[in-house]
Each structure stands twice: as structure tokens, then as C-alpha cells.
């Protein structure tokens, strides 16, 4: 059975018009993309991982607003310091994405880590929504 091969995921361009109110988008020049993300739901928490290559911890802005998380990642473009780009297969750009939260998430316990160009957000569920084993007693 052949080994699983990784395939390129094409970057999705951000629809700037739909995000006109976002302050970050006006402050940086360059292209904007929606970062690819995976969402894993476990019994007691939800994990979101977003690919933002070229973004370091200091370049991530994450806000919690009402019922959504808004993530912005700025990329320091290595190519800007080069003399000339000879050959291009991908475009560099900043990242921006919104995630709507539902009621099961405990907003006060949200945490996140940025490493290797991946933002990992941990969203613990509220106590009431955690799965619990209920003991069945003999009646």
C-alpha cells in the first residue's frame, strides 16, 4: 500500500470587500489569504489548527468578540529583500480568518500556541457540556 503523499493545498484569497471594517487589513500592504484550518472536536474540548507559514508568534493577532474568534497573521515577506523572483509557484501573503463559536465553548479558558507556522487554538468545553459517565444503579 503506497505511503500517503502530501498534496499542495491552494491558498484561498480573502474577499477584502467583505472585511472592510477590519482595521488590520488596511494597515499592511500585500495580499490577504484565508488560512487553511482543521477543526477537531473531542469530548472535552475543540482544537483548531490554522496554517500560517511565515507568521511568528509576535505577528499573530487573535481577538475574541462576542461569538467569534478573529485571527490575523502578518507575514514578513522574505522576497521583498531579494533582487528578483525568477520562478514562482506560490504567492506570499498575510492571513485572516473568523471562527464562529457555539455555546458549548468556555470562553474564559481559550488558549493558543504559535509554532512552525501553525496556530493551535484550544477551546475547552463548558463543564455542563463535557461528557460524563453516569453510573447506573440497581433499582
Amino acid at each position: 500500500m503506497p505511503k500517503k503523499q502530501q498534496k499542495h493545498v491552494e491558498k484561498k484569497k480573502l474577499d477584502i470587500a467583505a472585511h472592510k471594517a477590519e482595521p488590520h487589513l488596511a494597515s499592511h500592504t500585500g495580499e490577504w489569504y484565508v488560512s487553511a484550518a482543521d477543526i477537531f472536536e473531542y469530548e472535552n474540548e475543540v482544537i483548531v489548527e490554522m496554517d500560517m507559514p511565515g507568521v511568528s508568534k509576535d505577528d499573530v493577532d487573535m481577538k475574541l468578540r462576542e461569538n467569534e474568534i478573529v485571527v490575523t497573521g502578518h507575514v514578513v515577506h522574505g522576497e521583498d529583500r531579494d533582487d528578483e523572483v525568477l520562478y514562482r509557484e506560490y504567492d506570499e501573503g498575510h492571513f485572516h480568518r473568523h471562527f464562529v463559536l457555539n455555546d458549548t465553548i468556555d470562553r474564559d479558558k481559550i488558549s493558543s500556541v504559535m509554532a512552525e507556522g501553525v496556530l493551535r487554538i484550544v477551546l475547552p468545553k463548558k463543564q455542563a457540556y463535557k461528557q460524563r459517565q453516569i453510573e447506573v444503579k440497581e433499582g
Binding site: 484550518a37 477543526i39 496554517d51 500560517m52 507556522g117
Partner: protein, 137 residues
């Protein structure tokens, strides 16, 4: 032969040709950009979520090969996952890129930082042209 059998044969054929293409061409992940800066060629690739220990960059006479594996924690049906939504890809990758002739393959640097791989290759010093005298024959 039932319809299901016919479809299975075509699936196998697709997989086989994909594999054959990959073996011949070496796959097209990661996508790369090549720039020039001063006397260097710079190859960049986006490789988020890859640890240095899972990445190999090798330079040969006229090629550079980027090879490794990305692992995503719960892509293979781990325990405890209630539901998931996947947009990203993981797995093995192996891509060989041909280099221009004037690259000095004895010196090269590669750095993986924040999910960006940067390979810097220095151009060979071109031998100076020498004047040769033309004798009358």
C-alpha cells in the same frame, strides 16, 4: 462483471498512474519560489507544521531534493475525535528540483523557520576569460 467491479478497476488504474507520475517526476509538493539576491539563488517553500527532524534537504551535482513528512495529529481517526473538518493535507513528500549549472553545490544553507524553508545556494565563481595569442600558421 458487475458495475462495482468495473469502478474498482478504474480506481486502481488512477492510483497506479498517480504513483507512476510521482515516481517519475518526484511529486510537486512543496510548491517553491526561486529568487536571486546578490550572488545567491534562494529557494523558498511553505512547509507549515513540519519539524526539522522530519525534513531532509539534500544537494547533489545538479539537483536539490526536499523530502520529509508532515503529521497531523488526528487525521487517521484517532480516539476521542467526535467530529472533524479538514482542509489541510499531511503525508510524505519528495521533490527534486533541477539546479542551474552555475551553482556551487559545496556550499549551501537551509533554514526552516515559522514554517518557511529557505535554501540559499551560492553561484560559482566564473573563471576569468584568458586572452590567448593567435599564431600565424
Amino acid at each position: 462483471m458487475s458495475l462495482m467491479n468495473i469502478l474498482e478497476d478504474f480506481d486502481w488504474l488512477d492510483t497506479f498512474t498517480d504513483e507512476a507520475n510521482r515516481l517519475l517526476v518526484g511529486g510537486k509538493f512543496p510548491h517553491i519560489n526561486i529568487s536571486v539576491k546578490d550572488k545567491d539563488f534562494i529557494i523558498r517553500a511553505e512547509l507549515p507544521g513540519i519539524k526539522v527532524k522530519d525534513l531532509n534537504v539534500t544537494i547533489a551535482e545538479s539537483t536539490v531534493t526536499i523530502q520529509g513528512e508532515r503529521k497531523i495529529e488526528t487525521s487517521e481517526g484517532s480516539e476521542g475525535v467526535v467530529s472533524f473538518h479538514t482542509e489541510r493535507n499531511d503525508g510524505f513528500f519528495n521533490r527534486t528540483i533541477a539546479l542551474p549549472r552555475d551553482v556551487d553545490t559545496s556550499k549551501a544553507e537551509s533554514v526552516l523557520s515559522n514554517g518557511i524553508l529557505t535554501i540559499t545556494l551560492h553561484k560559482k565563481k566564473i573563471a576569468e576569460t584568458k586572452q590567448i595569442s593567435v599564431k600565424e600558421g
